[in-house]
Amino acid sequence: MSDMTLSTKELTESSGDRRLKLMKRSATLGKYGSLVVMCTICVLPLLVLGAASLKSAPEFQADGPFDIPDSPQWSNFQVAFNDGRMATAFVNTTIILIVSLAGTILIGSMAAYAIDRFNFRGRRLVLSLFLLATLVPGVTTQVATFQVVNSLGLFNTRWSAIALYTGTDIVSIYIFLQFVRAIPKSLDEAAFLDGATHLKIYRKIIFPLLRPAVATVSIIKGVQIYNDFYIPFLYMPGRELGTISTALFRFKGPFGTQWEIISAGVLITILPTLLLFLFLQRYFYNGMTAGATK
């Protein structure tokens, strides 16, 4: 915008204008220069793993990190996927992800509907219980949460992760609350006069209109669960219960210094995230903004 207005001014050039033009040009250079440097820093550590993942073991030993592989060793990916038990990991993560997401969406939307649409005794108490819980960082309470999970018999089952992801997510409730608030009350009042039950109003009117909130929660929650290390590491130590994070973590032992295999495993882990991000960029940005500031 301002480039245009300035370039028309430049027609009437004087020495002052020339200095301005020079300043402007160096500002542009600085701007794009810093952007390129920043992007290099963001991408370079990931790109060099791409090179490493395609080398053979002796080639990796002999090469520096920036040397291009002679002939791509795609078998590294096979080794990482099979020996790293990544198929099991993807299955476990997917099961946990789907069940937890369904639970979070159901619980979050129901709680939000109850809180926003009803005036009941204890409403303030319920709200402050949720608000207070947002202040408790989950990482600090694991010492005691562990005992609860253990006494419920959930330790070393997928249910431990599912229960924790579903039960401690208060941010989602707030996101749903905002969206429920935006739905006009006259809609449910009209349905109520027509004899619809509250369950029916929730199912047929409120929930279908919450689709954008469902998208937002799915993105934030999906990324969070896919990337979480802490909970599966602590609660699901069994090898057959490995998730993406813990399966990749176990590369540390057997693959020790086999960086070509480890690199392949890392790239297999990142690939789904990258693809999803490329296709759903807009949702990611909106989701992150909604999730972090609430």
């Binding site: 500002a27 992007c39 963001c42 039950t197 992150m288 903004t289």
Partner: protein, 308 residues
Amino acid sequence: MQVQTAISTEIPSAPKQRRRRWRRDSTPYLFLIVPLVLLVAFTYIPVLNMFWYSVTDWDGLDKNKEFVGLENYRDIATRPELYGVFKVSLYYFFATFIQLGLALYFATILSFNTRFQSFFKGVIFFPYLVNGVAIAFVFLYFFRPGGVLDSVLAAFGGEGLQRPWLGDRSTVNYSLASVSVWRYLGLNFVLFLGAIQSIPAGLYEAAQIDGANRWHQFRYIIAPGIKPVVSLSFILAIAGAMSVFEIPYIMLGGANGSTTFVIKTIDTAFKFGKVGLASAMAVVLLVLILIVTAIQRILVPDEGGELT
């Protein structure tokens, strides 16, 4: 019963109405029962138990928990190997300033017309989405002797600067804190950019007519507009610096002086079986984070006020 039937014959719809009212009164509780049970089971019971364990010498298995008063807290305050690990948080705390500064800079320049805008935005944001274990491996590879960083230094003639970045106690925490910046900068950046872009464009035009330059635009339009989100991010970053766990734990297992308070707490509980002491440590951390949050609520009171 007889009275009720008498009434119901007078007004036929009364029981139906009563049933309907009962249903209306109980509906919110039915909708809330599952969320509340989960909330109590996985947040409030653990927090309360944590306070209780923290005054015992429990090992996590024993049936009996011996009450020891404030002994665990005295241990934390007096044993340097316990409170000393908080010093590690300082590295992450100072890295926060670099992180927020860079995020603010890139959010500002990308809010003006820029070529390849969405490409730059995506690239800067993407690291935030990458799996934490993957990031740990990426940077183990990056910092290893003869690895990426050493090669880059060699390419620019800086062989003298090469060192075991993660093996040297004097550099390990700088290296790890910079990984943290790499990972979380993207989130701050996107939040700031969103806040800047929600400022009405008319303000810039008006300012330009009044002769304001880019710096004036930043100082008088952008800065006040994004103050709430910046202060919120700052508080979140401080709380994050106090509870760092993943990166140093996955990369080094807390070796070489990279142990943070949370790693220490988890090890105390699950490796050494001192659940009592670990609970006291967790209580300390919880209280510190609550204090930081309280300060934020006081400084930026408009957040959270909408939840009533």
